[in-house]
Amino acid sequence: MTLSSAIAVVLFWAAGLAAAAGVPPEVPPEVLKAEAERIAVIEKAKDSVLAVFSAAGGGGGSGVVISADGYALSNFHVAMPTGPAMKCGMADGRLYDAVVVGLDPTGDVALVKLFGRDDFPHAELADSDQVRAGDSVFAMGNPFLLATDFQPTATWGIISGVHRYQFPAGTLLEYTDCLQTDASINPGNSGGPLFDARGRLIGINGRASFEKRGRVSVGAGYAISINQVRNFLGYLHSGRIVDHATLGATVGVDEERRLVVTDVLDTSDAYRRGLRYGDEVLAFGGRTVETPNAFKNVLGIFPKGWRVPLSYRRNGKRFDVLVRLAGVHSEDELLAKLSGRGPREPMPIPKPGELPIPAAKAKPAMPEIVRKHFDEKRGYANYYFNRLHRDRVWKAWNARGDFAGQDRTWLLAGTLARGDKFTLSVAGGQVVLSLPRGDVKWSVPEELGSALEPAGSGGLFAALSLWRRLAVEGLDKFGEVTYLGTAPWAGHPGLLDVLVGRHGGVECRYYFDVATGLLAGLEMAAHEHADPCELHFTEYRESDGRWTPRRIEVRCGDEPVADFKVDLFTVSRPDPP
């Protein structure tokens, strides 16, 4: 007999005896211990839970703080109606001002920032891929807006299923790869945390199956997995309105129950990596996929722009590639989602006598602290944070080697793969590559996309000139530089900070190692439908107070273009006139 059924039997028996004798039942110590543990876990977890309200004090939902400086997660459909400024109640009874940072309308996630402390109690993020059906979990939040004193409500249950797919409501709130639980999730729980039995954050609650009884829990609630949120966290910190990803191909199941490609866009990166109609899809994003749902589950957890692994098979031969994920929406489509009527998913129930939240209401003035941390800009939830991170990344890079303002030529010298010596001179208006057989001179044109020499490199010379340009011109003079978020970079562990620069009609992405601040890579895309030129910078060495790469590998598409081993990196005298 298991401990749990033993407990049940003993309890029942003891209760029977006690009822007969009028004596309180004796509860086995293991039961009391389990109860005490549960109480302790909930007691600690409640401190990081938020009751989210709009600035006017109405409506809202729940949230959870994830860092000591006050960053917190909630649902998009909770944050959107509140507008940029909101108020969050915590278990200490205090109401804190908060501002929207980043929004993910498709995935239904919002990142906000609370003000007033630098030591906010916060939740520990766990690994949601470790979660199994049957695991004990609890949800905390403000269902039915019961928490008038901001003490969150706790509901306990188990995980009913993992890697669940929930169809979008309209075109929003597609819950891919979500956790299903029978812990009560009711209107008001939206945006709040789902904790494991140790009180670690594994998901953000936001949807439930409602049917004949209206909007009350019937034992089937859904939480966005924290692993998905983690993938998007860098993008959310960038203050953007984040878009989800598409592969540029659709899949379906054939008669032999294989998952095959049913359509592929010939302008997509997947097509350029060789994917064709009829290919059998084996794995995506590092996960084996066998059904369209499984495929959609993987797609849903990545932001657009990431490169993820894809494995497919054709005529018995297996291909393993990295594909760049394109965005699902155009910028206009994404903005339209923001301005439209809010999605009609779990919304709080108005108290008796209260009218449902009206569409237009007199907006109170934005609190000073919020106004200081909010910048409106088209395409952004809050541009203030974009500037914050853009400046942070630049500063960290600049600290490793200050080239700013020095309009001097960069000189690199070393050897290529076969031992041929080379020198590269990169100046403001010109790049010169000297090889044993001769020199190649390349002048920087107005439209960089028109001069992508050498052929097949995707624009190596242009990429080199943009590398130097950011270092020398800096954020203000480069052109338009924004912070993208965090993304993986091939050959480099973890996620890297990404800056995006636009100049000369092309977009260039700069990937910085988060720990060192050094530039690990650069990707220049002249056109959306062509492979970018990639520069991989490794083997950094310090000289003259600057860290410079001693190895630059150049790739375009699946082809290696060049491998520069740099023995010498100097900055020369100014260009001759």
Binding site: R164, T291, V308, L433, T538
Partner: protein
């Protein structure tokens, strides 16, 4: 610019060392200390998750008729033999020739309706499969209130293909009989039920498994059942002990629906619906349930007490789920013999015995 091809040939000597290793999902978003996927698999498992994983394959997903809100076209079932017998709830979902059964590995089968017991509201299907995982009904223990249980089902149709069915936790709150007063519960079942504190009365849950936390089957999840007096929904499951005999009967071929392999017995003067004085609803869909539209005055049906809106369930001991089946079953009965009809009227099962035709007029074929 010099000739591009030559320069590329010079530059692209040797493969680029860094390479582009296939990244696992773990690389892209690594929590501190996460190991490779295989290691993580075992790290997350517990005894309970192992038990659940072990019994989930015994539960199947059933698809059939319906497809409207309030009448969803899916429910759950349990495998009860290695040859592929499936025990499930008797419901409108089975009102079709095309019953689909999906196993836990994603394989799809046609489910053949072997028979049903409308009084218990259960049905047994058969799929052409071998070596499937199954629950042994003979081993199902009786349990008492207070027992902690798990409900496995495809509620809301969340799981598709090879995705595992959902699991909910709960306790058996009571063991009791459904109220016998007519009109309280919209079901003919008056036997013992386990009342649960888990919300199992959801679309798609009917026919699912109620198991102990050790994975022992104890009951079959019931249908969405409403108490007509106070409009509350009951979460209940029917103990296996109540179902065993009926399941045996169905598997043995009694309570059978149609007898396709048996040649129709030659009967001198076969009975007919018209001859009994029953006018059925128009037979327009593939399996129109045999609802009585009108009863002819002075007919055997009228004399016996059949009323309009009665749903004919059984002729004798045989299920007649469609107008066509009813007609064929009647053709096996000679005009001299009595006809025993069991009908469903306002959720009650009533039996009627129809005599030979009173007027003696010739019965139309």
């Amino acid at each position: 610019m010099s000739q591009p091809l030559r320069w590329i040939a010079v530059l692209a000597l040797g493969a680029v060392g860094a390479g582009l290793p296939a990244r696992s999902n773990g690389d892209a978003s690594p929590p501190a200390g996460a190991g490779p996927p295989a290691a993580r698999e075992s790290a997350g498992a517990t005894a309970l998750s192992g038990t659940i994983a072990r019994v989930q394959p015994n539960v199947v997903k059933i698809y059939g008729a319906g497809g409207y809100r309030g009448m969803e076209a899916y429910q759950s079932g349990i495998l009860i033999s290695p040859q592929g017998h499936v025990l499930t709830a008797w419901s409108y979902v089975l009102d079709t020739e095309e019953i689909g059964v999906t196993l836990s590995d994603g394989r799809k089968f046609q489910g053949k309706l072997l028979g049903a017991d409308p009084r218990l509201e259960i049905a047994v299907l058969k799929i052409e499969a071998a070596g499937v995982p199954w629950f042994d009904l003979s081993k199902a223990p009786a349990v008492e209130p207070g027992t902690r249980v798990l409900a496995l089902s495809n509620l809301f149709g969340v799981a598709v293909g090879s995705e595992p069915v959902s699991v909910q936790h709960g306790t058996i709150a009571a063991k009791t009989r459904l109220a016998a007063r007519r009109g309280v519960f919209e079901t003919p079942y008056r036997g013992t039920v386990y009342v649960l504190d888990a919300v199992t009365n959801n679309p798609g849950a009917a026919g699912g498994a109620l198991v102990t936390r050790r994975g022992e089957l104890v009951a079959l999840l019931g249908k969405e059942l409403r108490n007509a007096l106070n409009n509350t929904w009951l979460n209940y499951a029917v103990p296996i002990a109540e179902l065993r005999e009926s399941v045996e009967q169905i598997r043995a071929g009694k309570l059978a629906t149609l007898r396709p392999d048996e040649p129709a017995v030659k009967v001198a003067r076969p009975r007919s619906v018209e001859g009994l004085g029953i006018v059925l609803v128009p037979d327009v869909v593939e399996r129109t349930p045999p609802f009585v539209d009108r009863v002819v005055e002075g007919s055997p049906a009228a004399a016996a007490g059949i009323l309009p809106d009665d749903l004919v369930i059984l002729v004798g001991d045989h299920l007649v789920p469609s107008c066509k089946a009813l007609r064929e079953e009647l053709r096996r009965i000679d005009a001299e013999e009595k006809v025993k009809l069991t009908v469903l009227r306002a959720e009650e099962m009533l039996e009627f015995v129809l005599q030979a035709s009173l007027s003696g007029r010739k019965e139309a074929p």
